[in-house]
């Protein structure tokens, strides 16, 4: 019988600065060649468990270990990162900091340089992996010259080149557009099969990861393993819902339609899920629900006419872009990695200077206003939380804007506390920000802007790396702001279901202009646009097609509507 390659026995870990253990009673065996998905709420200890596998714990993160853990034969208590690095390859949560080379090719070859390989060897290996991950045309590019998605691939190449037999990915999909996300998952799966690698993936986007077979789904909660089984088994007794995690959409849909997951077979993929009464149930359900489409707002708030912008002359990023955002809109801005979504919001908020074009807010010329003045109307939450955090402690960070506007301490206290509660940070309010997980940091920055309640809010990928519970809390909060206080909200996102679920309007960016501006569901039924903007259909569409429902469009719309009603009744 084969030995597990990774094995935790009643394992626990407590960061030095923490007052209680972050990991408790972890019992986990992973066997060679298995593909394991690690899921769990934000802050539940996924990355921490990852750090135990690659040896960063205890070496780089001092803390107290209980129980035992062995990785590829090494006891992690007394084996160095160096020793483990031969058997474990890690792709960290943020590819930007992992990119240490001055150019793509150097970064791919980095570990070979450290192993003192000859230049000819390195060239060969780099060439091979660049071809595998189609990075060939980018080999000479600097890290600044490539988009988030591409960085991800470079990071993978730099790790795969080691040919180590355990691969660890910490949220590989967090900032990828749907298409690249799909591609990455397929790539990982392909390599894993080909070289019989053991793969551990930490990810919130279950649905995307499950597009390829997973052997073992491990669910963490507050540092303990609460589920560890074949995905199908865990999905069947809908553990995900109970933990406030998102289960794949098609399963929610089936349950809405009254199908018992217990009676279905191989439910871990929408392509295979089967059961005798599914079709009839779905048919009945769709027939039963009637759609009412809320009217879209029409009073223009922000009008963009013929915008042009380029970072360097030869390649324009924004090119003759026209867009009108109405008061009370809740719209999503989508498009492939590197089309210029962030760039556009930087132009609107004055972070970047327009080359030419016209921007009007309620008829007032935006281009005449300073960053500060624009910010009084338009709140902007950047993609990278670290660029916004200026205070050491969470409370001060959120209070800063109010204090600068000279509010009384009680007032500040009250509003900050309210916002912190909404963003699920209240219990951390006296923590230093440095001790937060990525998702938690992101929420701090959102809180810091929400607390100032501006007329319009631009959020750049607000839900990246968030779990369903916080995601729902936050989105509901935004929705209330939008519905009750007429706050206009623009979301930049790669999450297709977020777009369907919460926004009435989707603006698709491509080639520096607006490719399509319509209701989200219409966008996701337009093959050409999906192709061009690297979007992807959610499993709901596949489900609808597989079971020959009259109109996938209606089905999705109805699903979203029903869920929304359910939420508002809560």
């Amino acid at each position: 019988m084969v030995e597990p390659i990774i094995s935790f026995k009643d394992f626990g870990f407590q960061y030095d600065s923490q007052s209680e253990p972050t990991l408790k009673h972890i019992n986990l065996d992973i066997f060679p060649g298995e593909k394991v998905l690690l899921a769990g709420p934000s802050g539940s200890g996924k990355s921490t468990l990852g750090r135990c596998i690659n040896g960063l714990i205890p070496q780089s993160y001092p803390g107290e270990i209980t129980g035992s853990a062995t990785v590829a034969g090494h006891d992690i208590k007394d084996s160095s990162i160096f020793e483990l690095s031969f058997s474990v390859g890690t792709v960290l949560q943020d590819p930007d900091s992992q990119f240490v080379g001055l150019s793509v090719k150097e970064d791919i070859a980095f570990s070979l340089e450290n192993d003192e390989r000859s230049q000819t060897e390195m060239r060969a290996a780099t060439k091979k992996w660049a071809e595998r991950l189609d990075l060939k045309p980018l080999l000479d590019h600097s890290p600044q010259g490539i988009s988030g998605g591409q960085k991800q691939r470079v990071a993978m190449a730099g790790v795969l080149i080691d040919e180590s037999n355990i691969l660890l990915f910490d949220e590989p999909l967090a900032s990828l557009d749907p298409a690249s996300g799909k591609a990455s998952i397929e790539l990982i799966d392909h390599l894993a099969r080909q070289q019989n690698l053991t793969v551990v993936i930490i990810e919130h986007r279950l649905e995307d990861v499950l597009q390829r077979p997973i052997d073992q789904l491990v669910v963490l909660k507050d540092g303990e393993i609460v589920g560890n089984d074949k995905p199908s088994a865990i999905l069947k007794d809908s553990l995900m819902q109970q933990l406030g995690l998102r289960e794949p959409l098609y399963l929610s849909a089936l349950q809405l339609a009254g199908v018992k997951l217990a009676d279905c077979d191989n439910i871990d993929s929408v392509k295979t899920v089967a059961g005798d009464n599914i079709e009839s149930a779905l048919q009945r359900w769709t027939a039963g629900v009637s759609l009412q489409e809320p009217p879209l707002p029409t009073e223009p708030l922000l009008t963009l006419k013929n915008l042009n912008f380029s970072y360097n002359r030869n390649q324009p990023i924004i090119h003759g872009l026209n867009l009108t955002i109405n008061r009370g809109d809740m719209l999503s801005l989508v498009g492939r990695n590197g089309t210029g979504k962030s760039t556009l919001s930087n132009l609107i908020t004055g972070f970047l200077k327009l080359d030419d074009g016209e921007m009007k807010l309620k008829g007032q010329d935006l281009t005449q206003l300073s960053v500060k003045e624009r910010a009084d109307h338009i709140g902007y939450i950047l993609q990278d939380p670290n660029q916004m955090i200026s205070k050491a402690m969470i409370f001060d960070e959120v209070a800063a804007g109010l204090r600068l506007r000279g509010l009384t301490d009680e007032e500040v206290e009250r509003r900050v506390s309210d916002t912190l509660k909404v963003c699920g940070l209240y219990e951390f309010r006296h923590w230093p920000i440095s001790a937060l997980s990525f998702g938690q940091k992101k929420r701090v920055t959102i809180a810091a802007i929400l607390v100032l309640n501006p007329e319009m809010i631009i959020l750049d990928e607000p839900t990246a790396g968030q779990d369903l519970r916080h995601y729902t809390e936050m989105m509901n909060f935004l929705e209330t702001l939008n519905r009750e206080h007429q706050v206009t909200i623009m979301l930049i996102t790669h999450d297709m279901h977020l777009m369907l679920e919460y926004t009435q309007r989707a603006v698709v960016l491509a080639d520096g202009g607006v490719l399509m501006d319509a209701r989200p569901a219409d966008v996701l039924t337009n093959e050409a646009v999906i192709e061009k903007a690297a979007l992807a259909k959610t499993s709901l569409f596949t489900l609808a097609e597989r079971y020959h429902l009259p109109s996938a469009l209606d089905f999705v719309a109805k699903f979203v509507q029903t869920e929304r009603e359910a939420r508002s009744h809560e």
């Binding site: 600065s17 160095s80 402690m393 219990e427 923590w431 230093p432 440095s434």
Partner: protein, 188 residues
């Protein structure tokens, strides 16, 4: 265990040197407030250097400012003004020597320590900018003493002030961000 941590630390030193140099370069380039006397400005960078050195020690401190300063001289003056670059490096080393005394990572730094730190840094800057740098200029570049010593005294003052204000604030703020051992508890 020990040797493992040593290897981590040596890597951290390498990275701290590189990133430190990058930050110092950028600060020198974009956030320097001129004083009126040529080649002497109120350098935010010196303040940052104090924190960097206090965190990562003499080697990182010295090298970081040496590299950052030379790169900055390279792209602004064409070629580094070696005597001053080297002096700056020495300041970095000196500030790094008190890493353990100051112990920024061990939680909030007491006022006494800060006072002591500032006295130390004023002396360090005096030795560096009033004694070493100008003397170097006289010996190496054979510039008139009066001129270089004036420049020296000015940079002594501005750099001490910069460290005293910005350096101190940074150290205090940073030490606050370091959570005490076992201090983090969720509050309902």
């Amino acid at each position: 265990m020990n040797n493992k941590n040593q290897s981590s630390n040596s890597i951290r030193t390498v990275v701290a040197t590189g990133i430190g140099a990058a930050v110092i370069f950028v600060l020198m380039k974009f956030v320097a407030i001129p004083t009126g006397i040529p080649n002497t400005q109120f350098n935010v960078a010196e303040g940052f250097l104090a924190l960097l050195a206090a965190l990562y020690g003499p080697v990182a401190g010295g090298l970081a400012v040496f590299i950052g300063h030379s790169l900055n001289d390279f792209v602004t003056y064409g070629s580094p003004w070696w005597t001053w670059v080297i002096t700056d490096g020495l300041v970095g080393v000196a500030l790094g020597l008190i890493k353990n005394r100051l112990n920024v990572t061990g939680g909030t730094v007491k006022t006494m320590k800060l006072v002591w730190f500032n006295l130390y840094q004023i002396v360090v800057n005096f030795v560096a900018w009033v004694l070493i740098a100008p003397t170097g200029d006289v010996l190496v570049y054979h510039e008139p003493a009066a001129k270089v010593y004036l420049q020296g005294v000015t940079s002594w003052i501005v750099n001490s002030v910069s460290v005293a204000i910005i350096g101190t604030i940074l150290i205090v703020l940073y030490s606050r961000t370091r959570a005490q051992h076992g201090s983090l508890k969720k509050e309902k």
